[in-house]
Assembly symmetry: C2
């Protein structure tokens, strides 16, 4: 705001509303004021909506990210000399790659300080998946996290209240004021939390398609560019993959079921698509961590670590270190198969519907305080392009309590569209930035 | 919001944000919920900002107006059989016409139930002007208001807390969230209050120019169209005038000074521009009230009532009825003349600067709780196009306390721009809708 000595929130809102660019200092005062409760919710939500329409420059986005980052604790992992690399996915259905990728990369000697979130709406969360393993403790304090990283090269924890309090307050406000779907705001929210981890590099898995937050490739690409830029301007090595979420990843959706599928992959098996994406992500993490000189070499290293079961051993080591017992992984007692009502080739899948179906069966949450049943979920048998005969099993619901099973099975059945001729789906990994 | 049975404020915000049109019921639920405190400020401010960018259809604007209107008391003046007509100005500097126009129209036999506001920022308010008259009581209850209207055909009061509480709450929020400058929101705020007066017709004086809220003719015209449409859709007879606020109206700015100028006009004298606008507004009010069959005839009737002092007698009757004593009108003890520093023709006047100068001398308010000194003000000697010689008086400051006089005189001096050749100003009355 030109010629302004005083900080007047309404003037900043008007300036952004009319297409102006805020200074770093103005963004800091507004967001810090909001975090401390000095700027009221109603002024922040008006600014957020103005940002929704007017956007933010790269410099503004960086200032917002930095303000949110410095609103809380930033982990100092300088005592760990190895390269520290993390992976972040923008979220999808059946997206369980962290549980495979992180052990591969840790087995290669890099350090993976993984701070993850919980699932909300139709998307799953890494923490929920890990907590399906009886005893697995994700609520470690920062000291324990650091000592696990030194000892094992990998530790999975949840966000602590000390990390990015500004993001927590802002996200809750955005959620109820229609200001979630905006690239600079999404970027600042993701990157402030990742930068707080004390990492040296980051691989981003930005999803597009019917099960992703970003429905189109172009929108996802814009987000990926912004995330990568903000990461690089903050001094981190960043690679971003753009990957399809036009169908659930792998076969399993649901927390316990997804852990089982990860173990299959860690044993050298599992669904091809999920194995493929895990190897690609791991290869790029190894590149970022200077563990290979070419993506091909990195890819070969990752494949060897996976097929040689080094990653499985690492995963089992981590589960044990964090108190989990894989032998007690729970399984659902009841199953309901969903059968095709026609012949044809699967031409499209409403991926979000699978997330919603799993949610209403009790495997997800609508609001943060909802409880999850870890055994609930869905396994899918047919991929895009698969030939299907009438009566064949498309998918199976897994549950213990008969809750919303009719609704969920209808949703899953409706999610499939068929064609007479086989159509080729989008490539799983469409671009690397 | 399609397919929505539940009222979820965040969904309505998103729908409007994405360019959707809200139903009457959705607008009513949101605004009523806000007025009752069930919808929080931060959701309302996000919706207001979305409306700022996406606008509102005429139907949405009408629904908002109606919801605000029905949030409070609506005066029932059905026991008064005469045509009830009011005038509303969007506000300006030196705009004192109500004190002349209302008595003319009442003297012609129409009833003028005038509920006015106070000044804020650089604009004056009718209530403040009337209250410069010692003893004048604008805080009458609705019963007394009605009995005065029956007896005198005219009564001036301030808004009661029972009228349009939704507007009061919304306006306060808009003021601090950068959502004031939007035509549908301005329209709903003005019209809900006017419709609550129980009038049959309305004449709008929509100002444009350097001293107006709308700086350009086109914006003012859009507002005038919207105001007129909403008024007509609510079953009222409405005429809108578009008048220039590129210079202060008349010579006097400031409450007591403006009352004095009005009395001059009511005696057949006074500045030509202000007299002209008063007669034009009165003529259109007489047309709306079916007191004449042509604007020319109405204009002649208004002129006769003014020059025959019937309007003056009516004004004196009203002042007395509301407890005022015109003989005690206060005058400032100190004066400071501002002299031209060059020769030339007045080519432009920053009208808003006069409002601000009067405000900082103590004649206006920055916030609603500020106190006003009624004697403070400015009289101007030169109009747009006037020839000025160096050393001539441009304007005079009036005050009792020496507060900000240097700053105010600098502001007034800077407000004038001169040219070597005479330029013609915009016509005072540019259009009638």
């Amino acid at each position: 705001v030109p010629n302004s000595q005083l900080f007047i929130p309404a003037e900043l809102i008007k300036y952004k509303r009319d297409g102006g660019t805020l200074t770093d200092g103005e963004i800091k005062k507004f967001v810090d004021g909001y975090t401390k409760g000095e700027v009221p919710d109603y002024q922040m939500s008006a600014l957020l909506m103005a940002i929704f329409f007017r956007g933010m420059s790269e410099k503004e986005t960086l200032a917002l990210t930095q303000t949110m980052l410095f609103s809380g604790q930033i982990l100092n992992l300088e005592s760990i000399s190895a390269f520290k690399v993390d992976k972040h996915s923008t979220g999808g259905v059946g997206d369980k790659t962290s549980l495979v990728v992180a052990p591969i990369v840790a087995a290669a000697g890099a350090v993976v300080p993984m701070i993850s979130g919980r699932g909300l709406g139709h998307t799953g969360g890494t923490l929920d998946k890990l907590e399906a393993i009886p005893g697995f403790n994700t609520q470690l304090d920062v000291k324990t996290f650091e000592s696990h990283l030194k000892k094992h090269g990998l530790c999975f924890i949840g966000q602590t209240p000390e990390i990015c309090p500004a993001d927590r307050k802002l996200y809750a406000l955005r959620d109820v004021t229609g200001t979630v779907e905006n690239i600079p705001l999404i970027c600042a929210s993701i990157m402030s939390k990742k930068l707080a981890e004390g990492i040296d590099g980051l691989v981003l898995d930005v999803k597009f398609g019917s099960g992703a937050f970003m429905k189109t490739f172009d929108k996802a690409k814009n987000l990926a560019f912004t995330l990568k830029n903000i990461g690089q301007m903050s001094g981190k090595k960043v690679t971003a993959l753009l990957t399809s979420m036009d169908q659930p990843l792998g076969k399993a959706i649901g927390n316990s079921l997804e852990v089982e599928e990860c173990i299959e992959i860690l044993k050298g098996g599992g669904p091809a698509d999920c194995r493929e994406l895990c190897l690609e992500l791991a290869a790029h993490m190894l590149m970022v961590a200077n563990k290979a000189t070419s993506v091909d070499a990195a890819r070969k290293r990752a494949t060897d670590l996976l097929d040689g079961r080094r990653a499985l051993i690492k995963f089992e080591e981590i589960v044990k270190a964090q108190g989990g017992d894989l032998s007690k992984l729970p399984r659902a007692k009841k199953h309901l198969e969903i059968h095709a009502e026609q012949d044809g080739f699967v031409s499209s899948i409403n991926t979000e519907a699978f997330g919603i179906a799993s949610l209403i069966l009790g495997g997800g949450r609508l609001k943060a305080s909802d409880k999850i049943d870890p055994v609930v979920g869905i396994t899918t048998e047919k991929k895009l392009g698969s030939q299907v005969r009438r009566g064949e099993t498309l998918a199976t619901l897994h549950f213990n309590e008969d809750k919303n099973t009719n609704l969920a099975s209808a949703k899953v059945l409706e999610a499939y569209k068929f064609s007479l001729q086989k159509t080729e789906p989008e490539p799983l990994i469409k671009a690397v930035l």
